[in-house]
Amino acid sequence: MSRFKSLVPASLIGLALAAVSNPVLADALAGQMEKQETNWVAIGMFTAFVIFTLGITKWAAAQTKSAAQFYSAGGGITGFQNGLAIAGDYMSAASFLGISGLVYLSGYDGLIYSVGFLVGWPIVTFLIAEPLRNLGKFTFADVASFRFGQTPIRILAACGTLVTVAFYLIAQMVGAGQLIKLLFGLDYAIAVVVVGVLMIVYVTFGGMVATTWVQIIKACLLLAGATFMAFISTSAPRPCSPRRWRFIPSIWRSCRPGLW
């Protein structure tokens, strides 16, 4: 259920690159980020994305009536959709912000982490996915307690979850809180509470249908944004053709109007 943790809205992520790639601002835990002036464009984008995804959550909540629908969308998600959603997970704040920051700060050593994430997933597929499906259970704790004592196994699983959360989710919450503070000029405490409430609302009301669709949208946005940035940043400056493409803004053509 790793999908449940990474609902940091995608609109923040692209805007955050500039903040993370600056080593002075990278020390997020120390709270050194300056409170910015209110940025209405960023707030508008963020609000639009949140309203849109909350709409999806409302739609999904109306469909969710059983545990099977809550945890696995009633089996109604195709392989391709699920793949996109998992890709959205994979490209979440951890890899998109964290890895780009790590690569910026420590070069190739930072890249190792992005490989490490990916290698864990096939092993989960080979060893855990099939038993999970065959048993018709939804969580690791359900499977483990199917054969062993319920109470100790569930306590153990809960401890594992909480330890993972301590390392993973808190860092994401801090990052998201700092981002909102940076973008909106809100106080840090308020920013963290806003992000936390949004995450809980998405997951509690929408279940797997909503989280899957939010992740699919996030994956498409991130893929489009990252591809766009990769092309723009790696293409050599060249003059624009004034006749053929003049109706497209020059930044999208990766050309320099002045060079013509």
Binding site: G116, P122, F126
Partner: protein, 100 residues
């Protein structure tokens, strides 16, 4: 009448399903781990090898090698999925059919 769990366990097709699936899962896990830890150990013990420049630009050998690790996981999962869809689902269907 439906077969009991013990009868299904004795079904040679069920035993074949369990053993081949276990074998494939663990051998692909091992392959993934060998590729990944080979990569990590290469970084740890021979960083100069990955630092060799390729071509005239800033590209080093480490970039295509890192990409190859990522692509290899795609290929391994693709192989697993094709095997699971072709062989195991069919075998499971046959076992369920025979147990009815």
């Amino acid at each position: 009448m439906a077969a009991s769990a013990l009868e299904i366990e004795k079904n040679p097709k069920f035993q074949e399903l369990v053993s081949t699936r276990k074998k494939l899962g663990w051998s692909l896990t091992l392959l993934t781990l060998v590729i990944y830890f080979g990569f990590i150990l290469l970084i740890a013990f021979d960083p100069k090898f990955l630092g060799q420049p390729i071509g005239d630009g800033v590209m080093t050998l480490g970039m295509p090698v890192g990409l190859a690790v990522i692509v290899s996981t795609f290929l391994i999962v693709g192989f697993y999925v094709s095997r699971a869809n072709a062989a195991y689902d069919e075998l499971t269907r046959q076992i369920v059919e025979e147990s009815k």
